[in-house]
Symmetry: C2
Subunit: 218 residues, 2 copies
């Protein structure tokens, strides 16, 4: 019985890793689609998001079944509950990647981003992909050092969000109101993506160390 349970827990962990890899691909492609005006890539992200959604539903259902059948207590129970929450965060990260792709598609063949914010968004894209990659590794290897790095990547995303606000409000005549709206939304999507990455990593840290770190939600 215990072996079956351990096998089930391992399978849950593997599914979270697989889900996290899909999120990685989604944010990587969405950012590239945005920065290079690649319509096909944007449409791919949008079409693939349902796979991440389906994985969340499947994973959640299995967590509930596992609790009902195995009646875990203490640490085992906390792992499963953490799994439920991690899958919710990963699903939301997939949504945010899809939102980036949707806005890129909406403005195509024009660029959603004015030229003056491209370097900022290149950096945001880079930081968000870093977050996603590290989240996968943190779940897979319970690497606590990497969890700390995710927080630092998230700080970078916060700084870059502030930078986009400065750029949009600096009175540059080149930026239309439409561009200001788009830039604001896109920067917020990337920044929220980072927040959810931190949230996933924090749950892993908590499971390993038993320590809760408080994060100020954005």
């Amino acid at each position: 019985m215990r072996d079956i349970f351990t096998a089930e827990l391992t399978a849950l962990g593997e599914d979270l890793v697989a889900m996290s890899r899909l999120v990685e691909t989604a944010i990587s492609s969405a950012g590239t689609a945005l920065l290079t005006k690649d319509l096909a890539l944007a449409e791919g992200v949008i079409a693939d998001d349902h796979t991440i959604d389906a994985m969340e539903r499947d994973l959640d259902e299995r967590c509930v079944q596992l609790i009902a059948q195995q009646q875990p207590v203490a640490r085992d129970l906390r792992i499963i509950i953490a799994g439920l929450r991690m899958s919710a965060s990963l699903e939301r990260m997939g949504d945010l990647a899809r939102h980036v792709a949707e806005l890129a598609r909406l403005r195509y063949p024009a660029a959603a981003l004015p030229a003056e914010v491209e370097p900022t968004f290149t950096a945001m894209h880079h930081a968000a992909v870093d977050v996603a990659r590290k989240v996968t590794t943190v779940i897979e290897n319970l690497d606590l050092d990497l969890a700390a790095e995710i927080e630092s990547d998230d700080d970078t995303l916060d700084d870059l969000l502030a930078q986009t606000f400065t750029l949009t409000t600096s009175g540059s005549a080149a930026m239309t109101a439409q561009a200001v709206v788009d830039v604001t939304l896109l920067a917020r999507y990337f920044e929220r993506f980072g927040d959810h990455g931190v949230s996933v990593a924090s749950r892993v840290v908590y499971l390993v160390t038993g320590e809760v770190e408080e994060h100020h939600a954005h």
Copy 2:
């Protein structure tokens, strides 16, 4: 044993209702603070958000304890898991109300909203407060008709969000880039508030009817 468990479940429901009432107050006050430039009211919302956060942590911990101690199965287990998720959504609704209050405070003594979007935000505020009030009643009375109304209020919020985009990009000379950024963020906060309200209501509907409705996440 069963009686204790039922009492515990009732207590969880009561706590969710209490949490939802705090969210109601938060969004009501945040919107008023925004629309009337009431600094004290904004600061109150910001200061009170930690109470909602603490309730979420407490409620979550009790849900986990309840599962560990009572080992519920089937419907009881689903109720507790749904409780965990509802508390997460309510906590997020509190955050979004706080974000509205923070932006009102940041711009004080100036208004965060230009005059031309005030009617739209008055309507958004109204719809968001409606969502929050109905969410409380849905949790308290398992009122499915009201759950359907929340979806309609959320549609209103979606329409109003689209309306703010039209207003900000219509080329009105009166709106600065800063105002466009603020309006975009604020409209998005209200719209996400509605999404989370729908999510809470859907979980109640699912518990009562066993039917999952799919919602497209924004």
